[in-house]
Amino acid sequence: MLIGKQLAFRYPHHNWIVRNFDIAIAPSEVVGLFGPSGFGKTTLSKLLAGYLTPTQGQVTIDNSPLPDRGYCPVQMVFQNPELAVNPRWRIRKILAEKQPPDRFLLNALSIHPSWLDRYPHELSGGELQRVAVARVLNPATRYLIADEMTAMLDANTQALIWHMVLDYVRSHNIGLLVISHDAALIKRVCNRAINLMQVGTSR
């Protein structure tokens, strides 16, 4: 279980962004997190993935805190793939940053072998997001946080990525947190959803 307990976060001398937030995600469960802009969706995902340290409360995996070093079992897919890849690396190196990717995975995401020698600016946003997804889908990942993963993409690419990710998550027993402001998407892919408007974070 990935558990966030009484999570609270604020930057020094600023208002609380997130307060008293509880969440639990079981392996192979798909949980949606829904809410309008400015309700701390991205902050919550960064807290759960260890990018930010909570001001209060803690995040645990199977009752132990997130590791400081080494590969983090909770991985995140960012909203803007252009910012999530090093513009000076070729796709081959980007994909292999953790470990060289599985050929079946590349096929499933229709990542063409000819892309491997290109630079990120030579791919489109949807193509890059598929690369970013392929990068985190490896055996060491146990929980995946998709922060507006497909908000910027066209319908075809959205469908392709979600089919692939949901298949992978089910077959590999991975817990998935889907963060979005798109209620229809959350309804379609998630087992259950948390509405930040009802839970209330900061305001």
Partner: protein
């Protein structure tokens, strides 16, 4: 398409990549030729020949002769050879120090960053030339003195730029992700930061190179750099100041042009190498 194009116009056409590679090759060749020119030309032209004083450029003396009858082409090439070596060494060391400290400050942050920023500020607060003179004097002058003095005083601005660049890259999504992938700060500095700062490094190196030559000239001018009979370009130019008003233009103009060409060659070299490294232009 390309073949029919070639068939219609048999003249040799280069694409952009070939032009870049050719520019790099030509500039490198020119600089290497200057560095080793003193070996081929020999020392004979350096001896005074009072019968041939103050001669304008001719076939026998392409750059003319000075007031002691020394061949200016020989002196200029000897001087450029020495200056290019001094400049390259000093600028190279400076760039290495600047990059190393800038990367450390930006990647490790915290106390390391505070200490390095403090050292940079200390160097910035001291007058540049005074520090140069002091270091050079403390080392007993000479070529090594100049190289070490220039290397030790010129790394600060580059280090600041590279630190800022590193800090910016450090907060980007892909570097944060790299930490979550379990990569160490050193791995990240080597693989994520270094490719990013290489353009800055090249520009810094190019800007430092003429600086180093000019400071070498300045130190030589006040007598703690190279000894006055060494044919360094700075000394030649300083000497020529006296001759300009008396009509012996070639003594200053031609060596000056040679210096200009060398610096320009270095500049073109840097531009083209950068174009080759940058992903946005490297495959064009």
């Amino acid at each position: 398409m390309a073949t029919s194009f070639l068939r219609r116009r048999p003249a040799i056409r280069f694409n952009r990549r070939q032009i870049t590679l050719w520019s790099i090759a030509l500039c490198t060749l020119f600089l290497v030729a200057i560095v080793f020119s003193n070996r081929f030309i020999g020392d004979t032209g350096l001896d005074p020949a009072l019968t041939q004083r103050n001669q304008p450029p001719s076939l026998a003396h392409l750059f003319g002769t000075d007031w002691l009858g020394r061949d200016m082409l020989t002196r200029s090439l000897h001087g450029m050879s020495l200056s290019v070596r001094v400049g390259l060494l000093a600028a190279g060391f400076s760039a290495i120090i600047g990059t190393g400290l800038g990367l450390m400050a930006g990647t490790l942050g915290g106390k390391v960053d505070a200490v390095i920023t403090w050292i940079i500020d200390v160097f910035f607060s001291l007058p540049h030339l005074v520090l140069l003179i002091m270091i050079s004097f403390a080392l007993g002058g000479g070529t090594e003195g100049v190289i070490i003095a220039v290397a030790l005083t010129h790394w600060t601005s580059l280090a600041r730029i590279i630190r800022a660049e590193t800090l910016q890259v450090n907060s980007s999504d892909y570097v944060q992700l790299s930490y979550k992938f379990g990569r160490s700060p050193f791995w990240i500095a080597r693989h994520h930061m270094l490719p990013h700062v290489i353009p800055q490094l090249l520009v810094g190196l190019i800007l430092l190179f003429p600086h180093a030559i000019l400071h070498e000239a300045a130190l030589s001018f006040i007598g703690i750099g190279l000894s006055p009979h060494t044919p360094a370009i700075g000394i030649i130019l300083a000497e020529s100041m006296r001759n300009l008003s008396t009509g012996y233009w070639w003594v200053g103009v031609l060596p000056g042009l040679l210096l200009l060409l060398a610096v320009q060659a270095f500049d073109t070299l840097g531009e083209n190498v950068r174009a080759l490294i940058d992903p946005k232009t490297s495959q064009g």
